[in-house]
Amino acid sequence: MATMKNEIDFLLHLADNALIIGHRNSEWCGHGPILEQDIAITNIALDYIGQARNFYQHAAELINRHPIGIDITQTGNDIVLPATEDSLAYLRDVREFKNLLITEIPNGDWAHTTLRLFLLSEFEMQLFTHLLQHPDAQVAAIAEKSIKEVSYHVKWSQDWVLRLGDGTEESKQRMQAAIEAIWAYTGELFIQPEYATAACLNYAAIQDVWNKKVSAVFEEAGLNIPSKTFIQKGGAEGMHTEHLGYILAEMQYLQRAYPNSEW
């Protein structure tokens, strides 16, 4: 049973990551700096919502199959049964969400948004590659499908890091400022959550590849990695920034205001 709880928590972690970063990216829709790029970031948001749905659906299936004795929430609140993708996305509160902090911080300018996506999607690329070996075939299948999308996210966001890092004086300053602001949230990527117990996961190896990839791009763009290495963490365990509450208040408003309705 402990293994099942771990897998469910891990699926929720992956789903929450995708949902919250998808939400942030979707905030750009209609407000992007270039029409083609507005379409691109919106499309990336859509990819993430799709990934979130896949992970939530699988989590819901496991929860419904093993409802007895599983307290899947950290605050001891009862989960609504039967679980669905929507009950998991819309009816859990801040302390139950397991997304990484880097996904919930505000978008900032285009440099912050593209840099965050670059740092996150390089991580996801490695994580999902490990998950191809996951003993649960459904998890491996979702990872395989997601990798196709993440490869594009990496390419697109990396191009923006290079373009802005090596564009104008102003864009370089803005990209460097984004790095200074976001760097503290990157350490959490490599802290293995307690429930991430699948043998195929090796966070040290993920970090190793990530460091190499990110350093190479920063070097090509003439950007510096900050020397201060303090790490903000806790998201994966339900300890969030104040921002997440506002995201959920907005996202969950209809489900909360009109309970038990079909949409």
């Binding site: 407000h31 270039i34 790029q37 379409i39 749905r53 373009r163 564009g167 009109y258 309705s261």
Partner: protein, 313 residues
């Protein structure tokens, strides 16, 4: 000489031969098309705002995914249409400038606020529905690039319209609060949707020339009537009503009669006094101005790379 060209041009139009960007065309034909196509493109881009407004609040993940895809489609329509207009010798930046300075117009419907989730249903059903009514004939527009862009646009719009109707259908089967929400949205959007077809025929001075040039195939009033006839039937499936006490089937005409449109309101909104004119335009200007450094950087980077490539060759 000019007259001979004009003769050949009109002859082509009469024979339903498409006019292509490099063909000779009367200056007024070119200007009319630039005005119409750019206005249409701007409408797609401004139209992203009232619906984008609900992406982060969509009530289920499925609805969220559909809405994101839909708004993204609108951006794509804007892109095709700007490209079609560019073939007539105007740049996208010039068109943006005309939008931002208020010289170019866009569909007035988007100056109304989207206040509830049901608005996403009604915008799809009525607003996209009215747009389709206007746009299907444009697939046969005499100007080739516009006609071809419209074929793609119409395919996607018809999906949008159906998803809007489906949102309302689900609400119609839902709770009392949901049904109220849907009826309220229909009440707010019905009349502005009828205004989307433009002024009455006898007050639409460009119509005759545009029909002669086959830029336009049906008059505003013809299309409006067709729309009323369709919606009056569809609303019955939903079990809701259209907010018009004069709406009534006229056996003799074979059409629905409908009440008078408030043209004062129409002209007020066209002139900039609608509830959201300022917000919509401000949002676009902000995106454009705050994106300037991004576009500058992308250009500088592309130039740098091109130079490096040249030096290496």
């Amino acid at each position: 000489m000019e007259q001979a060209f004009e003769q050949i041009f009109q002859d082509k139009i009469d024979r339903e031969v498409r006019i292509e960007p490099k063909d000779w065309m009367p200056e007024k034909y070119r200007q009319t098309l630039i005005r119409q196509i750019s206005q249409h493109a701007h409408s797609e881009i401004i139209g992203m705002l009232p619906e984008g407004n609900w992406i982060t609040r969509a009530p289920s993940l499925r609805r969220k995914a559909i809405l994101i895809a839909k708004v993204q489609d609108e951006a794509g329509h804007g892109l095709y249409l700007y490209s079609a207009a560019e073939t007539l010798g105007i740049s996208r930046d010039q068109m943006y400038d005309q939008l931002h300075t208020g010289k170019a117009k866009y569909s007035s419907i988007f100056n109304y606020p989207s206040l509830s989730w049901a608005d996403m249903g009604v915008v799809g059903w009525l607003v996209d529905g009215a747009a389709i009514m206007n746009q299907v004939p444009l697939c046969r527009s005499s100007f080739g690039p516009y006609a071809r862009a419209m074929v793609r646009v119409c395919k996607e719009e018809s999906f949008h319209q159906r998803q809007g109707f489906e949102i309302l259908y689900v609400l119609s089967k839902g709770t009392e609060a949901q049904r109220k929400m849907a009826q309220d949205a229909i009440n707010r959007w019905w009349w502005p949707s009828l205004m989307m077809f433009g002024p009455k025929d006898d007050e639409s001075p460009n119509t005759i020339q545009s029909m002669k040039w086959k830029i336009k195939r049906f008059s505003n009033d013809e299309l409006r009537q067709k729309f009323v006839d369709v919606c009056a039937e569809q609303v019955k499936v939903l079990g809701f009503t259209l907010p018009d006490k004069d709406l009534k089937w006229n056996e003799e005409r074979g059409h629905y009669d409908f009440g008078p449109i408030n043209w004062d309101e129409f002209w007020q909104v066209v002139q900039g006094n609608g509830p959201c004119n300022k917000e919509r335009l401000d949002a676009r200007k902000k995106a454009w101005e705050e994106g300037a450094w991004v576009r500058d950087a992308a250009l500088a980077y592309a130039n740098k790379k091109a130079k490096q490539k040249q030096a290496a060759a």
